[in-house]
């Protein structure tokens, strides 16, 4: 059960590209607050935040290069968290 996988070292170029993308998305988060989107404002902010965290997890935390099992485990955690938050809405939305 000791399946080893090769170390994957990301190039500085790729890391810098991700970093710049994160900065651009941060700027986008601020810009969105200045546009009148009504109820979609929150969804837009959440969508940008999700993309940003996705980039961090995939590249800075190397999840893109890890075995599939690790990705499954990550999604189990995210799915569980979504379930916990979603479950409270059966109460909060209909109280």
């Amino acid at each position: 059960m000791t399946e080893e996988h090769a170390e994957h070292i990301l190039s500085y170029g790729k890391l810098a590209t991700v970093w710049v993308t994160l900065l651009v998305l941060t700027a986008a988060t601020i810009m969105v607050t200045r546009v009148e989107l009504g109820v979609w404002k929150v969804w837009a902010a959440l969508a940008i935040a999700s993309v940003k965290s996705g980039l961090v997890i995939a590249f800075f935390m190397h999840m893109k290069y890890e075995p599939r099992l690790f990705r499954i485990i990550l999604f189990v955690a995210l799915f569980t968290l979504a379930g916990f938050i979603g479950g409270t809405f059966f109460d909060v939305l209909y109280r």
């Binding site: 059960m1 000791t2 099992l69 189990v76 955690a77 569980t80 968290l81 379930g83 916990f84 479950g87 409270t88 059966f90 109460d91 909060v92 939305l93 209909y94 109280r95």
Partner: protein
């Protein structure tokens, strides 16, 4: 592998570079860490049991009996906090899990031995913080173990420190969970396929997932309570625009799955003991393994059933009531499979088996009374009454507590190299079983009649049954005392325990007694399942 050689060398008891207490508190050997957990959780069990006894003494007769109302409030809070966070949650997984899991998998230790030691230290530090909170600041917390807001945000007792102690304990639990998940995925011996993993290890796997995924929620929630108390943020306090029901959601999102952190390892113990003492392979191995995962998953989606009367939306009540009934299915799968395993088996009624059998009965009574609480309509009648207290103790003490004693009688002789006497163990079990039912069944009847929980005083019509319940607590205490005395004396001064007297087929029974520091002289190659008793002789 000669058992005699290992006995002479004392196995893992002797092999260490350090001396004195340092050989224990700085050891990364999973067996030593398991034993340290065992001593701690067992000590806290005795403390919690003593507090429970005092609570019953106070309730023996109406009106003030042996303590003031404020002391009573602190008493049931501390009883709950000690029993839940210091005994039942780490009870089986951290102690017996550490002792048994790596050996059952054919590994020399857990995946991260130093993290394992760190998690024991966190447990010890958290426990000390909780104990300090009882005697400092405004005195012992009086909120109940649930720390419900807005009272917990306002009371002058030392809630902040107690809650911080529980916060630290949570990290211990998370680290143990991560360690066990990684160990089960990565450290299995050659041939130890997923369908050859003993069911105790499977139950620890399901438990570990709940520990990792749910515990952070309570950590955040309790920190929010502290910030609410210190900074007055108004997160949960309705007079400041907060939402106290949201606290209940966040608390139970962890604390209901935590019930499964408590019971799943107990179910694993039973799944390992029943086939050995029935001399039959387990019935429905895959279904029992799968039902552990199903209980962990479904049990994480039913927290709202603690909140039917909290003012939660009607839709919420409906959804959580429905989901609650789903948990009954995998639980029943386990019970039916245990009973089917015993059918036509050659049953041997020794101490571990008696505790395991009483687990099945008591857990079933607890589970069925849980359906009364899970159904929204009937729950409203018995909510916050002694019925809930009785139900909870049937599941947690009748379930996990009895499984803890079953595991102690089953595995500890293997680790100590000495055995307890059979007769006192059985006599102690009889007292425990009888006392338990007198105490907690009476509580359920009291609850049905309307006696509220957490009340210092009660109406005269409840006096007779409260007296009976208190007498039950004395009988149970006598049983616990006999069992503990017998175990203590036997494990340190009893007859030598060698070989595989119960005829277990999982790996821990194939190595020397007590196990050597490295567990296996050579890495084992697993060629059969954990309940394949062919060729395993019983002396």
């Amino acid at each position: 592998m000669s058992h005699e050689t290992a006995m002479a060398e004392g196995g893992f008891w002797r092999d260490t570079g350090r001396t004195g207490i340092g050989a224990w508190i700085f050891s990364t050997d999973h067996k030593r860490i398991g034993l340290m957990y065992l001593y701690c959780v067992f000590g806290f069990f005795l403390v919690g049991a003593f507090l429970g006894l005092l609570i019953r003494l106070e309730l023996m007769a109406p009106g003030p009996t042996i303590m003031t109302a404020q002391t009573y409030n602190a008493m049931f809070t501390v009883h709950g906090v000690v029993m839940i966070f210091l005994f039942i949650i780490p009870g089986i997984p951290a102690s017996f899990g550490n002792l048994v899991l790596p050996i059952q998998l054919g590994a020399r230790d857990v995946a991260f031995p130093r993290v394992n030691l760190f998690s024991w230290w966190l447990y010890a530090i958290g426990a000390v913080i909780v104990l300090v909170s009882l005697f400092t600041g405004g005195g012992a917390p009086d909120t109940g173990w649930t720390f419900y807001v807005p009272f917990s945000a306002r009371t002058t007792t030392n809630v902040s420190l107690a809650v911080f102690g529980v916060f630290v304990l949570g990290f211990s639990s998370i680290l143990t969970g991560i360690n066990f998940i990684t160990t089960i995925h990565r450290m299995r011996a050659p041939g130890m396929t997923w369908t050859r993993i003993p069911l105790f290890a499977w139950s620890l796997y399901a438990t570990a997932w709940v520990q990792v995924l749910a515990t952070p929620i309570i950590a955040i929630t309790l920190l929010l309570v502290v910030t609410e108390r210190i900074l007055g943020l108004g997160l949960f306090d309705p007079t400041r625009g907060g939402d106290p029901v949201m606290y209940q959601h966040m608390f139970w999102i962890y604390s209901h799955p935590a019930v499964y952190i408590m019971i799943l390892p107990g179910m694993g113990v039973i799944s390992d003991i029943i086939p050995v003492f029935s001399r039959k392979p387990i019935f429905g191995y895959k279904m029992i393994a799968f039902s552990s995962l199903a209980i962990a998953a479904a049990g994480s989606a039913v927290w709202g059933h603690h909140m039917y009367t909290s003012g939660m939306s009607d839709l919420g009540v409906l959804v959580f009531s429905f989901l609650t009934f789903i948990v009954a299915i995998p639980s029943a799968i386990k019970v039916f499979n245990w009973v089917s395993t015993m059918y036509k088996g050659s049953i041997s009624l020794e101490a571990p088996m008696l505790f395991a059998l009483s687990f099945i009965l008591l857990f079933s009574i607890g589970g069925l009374s849980g359906l009364i609480l899970g159904a929204a309509a009937t729950d409203i009648h018995v909510h916050d009454t002694h019925f809930v207290v009785g139900h909870f103790h049937y599941v947690m003490f009748g379930g996990t507590g009895f499984a803890f004693f079953a595991a102690a009688h089953y595995w500890l002789p293997k680790y100590f190299g000495r055995r307890y006497q059979e007769k006192p163990a059985i006599i102690g079990w009889v007292f425990m079983f009888i006392g338990f039912n007198i105490l907690y069944f009476t509580m359920q009847v009291l609850g049905m009649e309307g006696m509220p929980r957490r009340y210092y005083d009660y109406l005269p019509e409840f006096a007779r049954l409260n007296f009976v319940a208190t007498v039950g607590s004395w009988i149970m205490l006598a049983g616990v005392a006999i069992v503990v005395w017998n175990l203590w004396r036997g494990l340190f001064r009893g007859e030598p325990f060698t070989g595989n007297p119960w005829g277990g087929a999982s790996l821990e029974w194939s190595i020397a007694t007590p196990p050597p520091t490295e567990n296996f002289e050579e890495d084992p190659v697993v060629t059969h399942g954990p309940y394949d008793f062919k060729g395993v002789g019983v002396p």
